[in-house]
């Protein structure tokens, strides 16, 4: 994995350099993974339903919070730019650590932040926040959606019980395309 906390021009520079050095394949792959994950984040918002009182107004934004360093670069902003989900625009917030977390609807926990997963989960406990983790580890079993990368393909696993406990409804279509962790089955 690369350090994703570099600035965008830097990233582009690196990518350009890698391209020139004909090892751009790896750099592009990294970039593609998070581009895909950015699209997935946006899509999660479409396949999940929040309780109606979650939004102050019918056009209040769906806030995507990112805990820890942002691995998406401009990809997420580009993906959600101008898009709406059921009338709600989308917005991105960045939180350095668990203590910084404010009201949000979808919370992405980047790889470095997984260390304080318990704190983060506590911070959003009882709130209708769809939690997404960049990795699936033992520490992330209570996180509702966990990305998995296998054979260069991005998948995800779902903890449907956690989502139900948070008063969130996930579309059956989302559940169907998730990788086999039926709801209620405890993760190791």
């Amino acid at each position: 994995m690369f350090d994703v906390r570099c600035s965008v021009p830097f990233l582009i520079l690196i990518a350009f350099a890698i391209l020139i050095l004909s090892i751009g394949n790896a750099a592009a792959q990294v970039s593609r993974e998070y581009q895909l994950k950015a699209v997935f984040l946006y899509n999660f918002a479409q396949f999940a339903d929040w309780p109606t009182n979650t939004f102050a107004e019918t056009n209040s934004p769906i806030v995507i919070g990112i805990v820890g360093p942002d691995p998406f670069g401009p990809a997420l902003e580009e993906t959600i730019h101008g898009e709406t989900v059921a009338g709600h625009p989308l917005a991105v917030r960045h939180y350095a650590r668990a203590a910084d977390i404010q009201t949000c609807h979808l919370l992405f926990i980047s790889q470095p932040a997984i260390r304080e997963a318990n704190e983060i989960l506590n911070a959003v406990k009882g709130k209708p926040v769809l939690t997404v983790s960049d990795l699936d580890t033992a520490a992330t079993s209570q996180i509702m959606i966990r990305f998995v990368v296998e054979n260069n393909k991005v998948h995800f696993r779902i903890n449907a019980e956690a989502a139900r406990a948070a008063n969130l409804t996930l579309s059956s279509k989302l559940l169907r395309v998730a990788e086999g962790t039926p709801s209620g089955r405890a993760q190791p």
Partner: protein, 620 residues
């Protein structure tokens, strides 16, 4: 059955069948077209709906790039056998997943086709967008095999063909049954017409029908037959009359061409009908009268009927005298369409006419000769009678004169018997003298020129009665005189008539104590007749024809004196006045003399007379 009968039946069946088949074809075609159209629409709609469901279902797979799940979704389409291919394309148009899984990628379009549906080559191609919450996730491409659809159309077409076949059979059976109601009256009518035309039998009638159009037609046909029948009978009578006529009866058209030629014409002119009908009548014309036929035709064309006497030439070249009655023949509308010419052979008549003329002339000549002979004999006889009578008067006068002298001068010297004889001689000579006078009178009446002047008969009668006064003195005679007319005649002669008749009446009624003599006028057998009636002794009708002969007497002279010439004179005078006289009587019951006179029927107006002119009764 006749071919014509078959034909009308066939026509009706053909028309019925044609109509049924056309109607059925149109109906079935419309039905099939409608069905195919709606079925295609509903098919594309159901495929589209199916695609929308599948697209919706695959939106997650597309959103999260899950080809396995997408393949599952597409695989679920296998329950719809019409769908033979399906594919999901990503939003940027790249092929994502295809169904069936074993199909090569080349079987699908490289890029997502434009959204919509299209029928092509027996397949339905549908392309739909797959959305999640109004966000495009990709495209679903479906290909449906229309084989099921076409199978269904084929089944429909087969059912339609079956229905059509069944309907046509039913229509055929129905038409075959029902056409009889139409065709049978027509066939009956046609049969009747055929019998009429083949046998010329106008007494047959078409069977009576209910009063629809066919009924009206049949009635009209029967009515027409009745008229033709009547016409045929009349016509047969007429032709029989024409054929049996001795006259030549010839029909010509207005150009002079022969149209009909009867047996009389064949006999008269020697041409048979077959020879001359259709040719011009001109071959019958006499060469010296070339213009005649043209003139005859012109007269007929003007509508005039004329009688001609002319000459025609027979087939053997001999002439025949004919009288022609030529009249125009008119059609029902009154326009002249031909000429009828009735020719009668008048050769015989001409010959008789000539003969009669000759005989008449001969007879005339003979009558003249005889009349002349008789007239001269009569004149000689009358002259002889007159001269005898005239010559007898002198010796009679001598006898009378000398007998008187003897009686007067030597009355005392004769014995009474001689005086008696002398007296007889004298009366005999007086009688003879009277007889001679009467005979002279009779001769005179015959010879005398008749005067014609108005003669009032009443005046005449009065005068005669006055003259008779001496003769009837002392007798009771009732005269009944009617009002008599004035007529044109000879007053002297007529007076003699009345004198003779009235003196006869007075004479023969002498035995009656009360004599009645009536002079009257009456109508008998349309002529006015004068009559003189007495109630005297009368006479036996057996001798009535002798009454008016000279010297004919029905009574002895001792009883009633007379010469037997008086009534002969009367008859002669009346005859000369254009009348005649007759008498009726019965012995002892009186006699009536009737006579007519010229002008009695149209008398001169009676001149006003002194005294009564009404019928009067008077005692003398």
């Amino acid at each position: 059955m006749k071919p014509s009968n078959l034909s009308i039946k066939r026509k009706i069946i053909f028309i019925t069948m044609l109509t049924s088949i056309i109607v059925l074809t149109v109906a079935v075609t419309a039905f099939l077209t409608y069905d195919v159209t709606t079925f295609r629409e509903s098919l594309s709609r159901s495929i589209t709906t199916l695609g929308q469901v599948a697209g919706e279902n695959s939106s997650g797979s597309l959103a999260f790039n899950n080809d396995k799940d997408a393949a599952d979704v597409l695989n679920s389409l296998r329950f719809e056998p019409q769908i033979i291919k399906a594919a999901l394309y990503t939003t940027d148009g790249k092929l994502f997943v295809s169904y069936p899984t074993n199909a090569p990628a080349t079987a699908f379009p490289d890029k997502a086709p434009s959204v919509g549906h299209v029928f092509k080559n027996g397949h339905l191609f549908v392309c739909l967008p797959a959305f999640r919450e109004n966000n495009l996730k990709g495209y679903l491409y479906l290909e449906s095999d229309l084989r099921y659809f076409y199978d269904r159309v084929k089944i429909y077409a087969a059912i339609a063909a079956l229905i059509m076949f069944g309907s046509v059979i039913v229509a055929l059976v129905l038409a075959n049954r029902l056409q009889k109601r139409l065709s049978e009256p027509i066939i009956a009518l046609a049969d009747t017409a055929r019998i009429v035309s083949e046998r010329r039998d106008y007494s047959v009638r078409a069977p009576k029908l209910p009063p629809d159009e066919l009924g009206v037609l049949t009635d009209a046909f029967n009515e027409m037959l009745a008229r033709i029948e009547h016409h045929a009978i009349t016509s047969a009578f007429l032709s029989a009359i024409v054929e049996s006529s001795d006259d030549a009866i010839i029909g010509k058209d207005l150009t002079g061409k022969v149209v009909s030629w009867n047996a009389g014409a064949e006999r008269m002119f020697g041409y048979t009908a077959a020879e001359i009908v259709g040719t011009s009548i001109e071959r019958l014309l006499a060469p010296d009268r070339p213009d005649e036929e043209r003139r005859i035709l012109e007269n007929a064309r003007r509508g005039e009927t004329h009688l001609y006497e002319t000459v025609r030439i027979r087939k053997n070249g001999t002439p025949v005298d004919v009288s022609l009655s030529v009249s125009p023949i008119r059609d029902a509308h009154g326009s002249i369409v031909g000429v009828s010419s009735i020719a009668r052979d008048i050769t015989e008549r001409k010959r008789f006419e000539d003969e009669i003329l000759k005989l008449n002339a001969e007879l005339e000549h003979r009558v003249q000769m005889r009349t002349a002979e008789l007239t001269s004999a009569n004149q000689e006889l009358e002259a002889f009678t007159y001269s005898v009578a005239h010559d007898l008067r002198a010796p009679l006068r001598h006898i009378d004169a000398f007998t008187r002298i003897l009686q007067e001068d030597f009355a005392g010297s004769f014995p009474p018997e001689a005086a008696q004889l002398l007296e007889t001689i004298r009366r005999g000579s007086e009688n003879m003298s009277r007889l001679v006078n009467d005979l002279l009178n009779l001769a005179h009446v015959g010879r005398q020129e008749l005067k014609r002047e108005p003669t009032p008969l009443n005046t005449l009668v009065e005068e005669v009665i006055a003259d008779l006064k001496g003769e009837v003195a002392g007798r009771d005679i009732e005269w009944k005189i009617a009002n008599l007319p004035t007529i044109e005649g000879d007053p002297g002669l007529l007076k003699q008539v009345f004198a003779n008749l009235l003196s006869n009446a007075a004479k023969y009624s002498r035995p009656r104590e009360h004599a009645i003599i009536e002079i009257g006028l009456r109508k008998m057998n349309d002529e006015t007749v004068l009559f003189i009636r007495d109630n005297g002794v009368g006479f036996n009708m057996k001798y009535a024809d002798k009454l008016f002969g000279v010297f004919q007497r029905l009574h002895r002279a001792e009883e009633f004196e007379g010469t037997g010439v008086g009534l002969a004179i009367v008859e002669r005078v009346i005859k000369r006045h254009g009348g005649h006289i007759w008498a009726e009587s019965e012995v002892d019951k009186g006699a009536t003399f009737y006579f007519t006179l010229d002008g009695l029927d149209r008398p001169k107006p009676t001149l006003p007379l002194r005294g009564a002119i009404s019928p009067s009764t008077r005692r003398v």
